[in-house]
């Protein structure tokens, strides 16, 4: 078991955002969280990376309990997050962005090697390495976000709706990239609103509704599920 969250409860002030959420991710798996806006997908990822802390419940990563650790600790253990926001640091150059991802001890010594890998994945970023991040196109900035997260050499990559607001062609491209990363051995936990694509790609999925796990199962199981069809696949 790489990551396991057991009955976590998260509050924003008084608002009960996650209710007894439990989920597991095995090494090498591709797991998806689906659900509508406001269901708690982003909150779940932010809690795993340590930006939020649960009131109750535990999160374990590679045998270490992480639910009360600060983010920089958790990143150094081997989890990375690609946040939902598109351009995060608009005034930094592409290269600075990428270096920022590699600052922790676990990643710094291998940064040259990682950089080569990342540029191989995203040759476009290599061409634009001196450009300001704010001037990149939508697809390129999403590549940059993923590249930055990869620079920390994560074992578990959390992706928060990487396809949000992208043109259909770019959505497919981003999904291809995610699939390739998975093939290269990175464990993936993805949240997605493109439910059909997400379910076809993943090994397993959780359906989250109003802060609870409503359904879980393998991707193909859920694709056939009546409720999922009705609510998320339009019939």
């Amino acid at each position: 078991m790489l990551l396991s969250a057991d009955e976590i409860n998260v509050f924003y002030e008084k608002f009960h955002a996650l209710r007894d959420i439990s989920l597991k991710v095995d090494e090498g798996e591709f797991v998806t969280l689906i659900g509508s806006n406001g269901a708690g997908k982003t909150t779940t990822l932010n809690t795993i990376i340590g930006l939020l802390h649960p009131e109750s419940g535990t999160i374990t990563f590679k045998g270490t309990q992480i639910e009360s650790l600060p983010p920089h600790h958790i990143v150094n253990l081997g989890i990375a997050l690609v946040p939902e926001a598109r351009v995060i640091f608009p005034q930094m150059s592409v290269m600075e962005h990428i270096l920022l991802g590699a600052q922790l001890p676990r990643a710094w010594d291998r940064r040259h090697e990682t950089l080569e890998w990342v540029f191989q994945l995203f040759p476009r970023l290599k061409e634009r390495k001196n450009q300001e991040a704010g001037t990149l196109s939508g697809g390129e900035s999403q590549m940059l976000n993923i590249a930055r997260a990869l620079m920390s050499r994560p074992e578990l990559l959390l992706l928060d709706e990487p396809s949000l607001g992208l043109a259909p062609k770019l959505v497919l491209m981003i999904f291809d990239t995610v699939r390739q990363l998975h093939k290269e051995g990175v464990t993936i936990l993805l949240t997605e609103q493109h439910v059909y694509h997400a379910l076809t790609m993943c090994d397993r999925a959780y359906v989250i509704e109003t802060g609870r796990v409503a359904l879980k199962g393998s991707g193909s199981e859920l694709l056939r599920n009546k409720e999922v069809k009705q609510k998320y696949l339009g019939g």
Binding site: I49, L51, H72, P83, L99, L100, G101
Partner: protein, 343 residues
Amino acid sequence: MPVKVGEAKLLKDPEALSILILSIVLAILPLTLLQKPYTLWIIIITIFYVVLAINWNLLLGYMKLLSFAHTGLIGIGGYGSALFIASTGLPPLIGLLVGTTLAAVTGLVLGWACLRLRGIYLALTTWGFSGSLQLLLLSEYNITGGSKGIHTKFLLPVTSFEAPQYYYYIALTLLILCMMTTYKLIHSKYGLYLRAMGDDEDAAAACGVNIIRLRIFIFTISSLWVGVAGAFYVHFLGYASPAIADFSTIMITVLGSTILGGLGTFFGPILGTFIIWPLSEVIRARSASLQMIILAAVILLSLKFFRNGFVGAVSSLYHKYKDEIEEAISRLKSLLIRHTVLA
């Protein structure tokens, strides 16, 4: 862990270039027309404010942290040094080091205690700190001399009234050191963290930046320089009074200069102070009550009309007309070459 960013050539780096030009101008200034002691005094005090503004901008401009601890820290640096040399009889230079260390340690403790707070809470806590220190200076009559303050030794064997030019060059050296270390800092990996944090704190944390430790580190560096400024100021005046930690004069000047020059830019606070302080001296010579009114008006107007200050306005103008400017420069160059060839 060196980060290879910003290692541009001097001429292509406006920040490094501005440090160089300003240092040269200030270094030759006393040799030229501005020899009058009064002018030197004004520039020395301006430099005092520039150091404050640079280090305040580090907090608000780069980290988006509104802190009012600076006036209190000036008091700690200044009085710390003055009281230390009064009780030990050691030379003021040692006092300056002690005052600086005290301010840095205070910054560290204060930062540790309240940098978990954000926004208005941090502003209120640090305001409380500066306010209580001011009260302490006024009320502990036996130690601080109350509102009369205490006399202390001058930094050099000669006073600043007799030889302001020596003090001028000491202030200038401190200023250059402060500019250079700040420049180094914001072009180091910490600068990268700073900018990341200023843009999006959560995203920076998710990249592995230890936000609290970074804040405390920068806050301590900032406090250290404020301590240097405070201690120097006291031994430049030969006198420590609660006025050196006066909230309204100092904070308004620092705030106004930084905003007018350009918050979050390297050269903004420097330029802003060189405009605001001499100007407010000139106004004060005519009418003291007008000083604050005009300063406040300048702040409001620059907030209304150019949010990013002078430096921001100039750089956005440059970006807007970048092609035209470059074309004009190349045309000018070719013209010059043609003329020199013809001549």
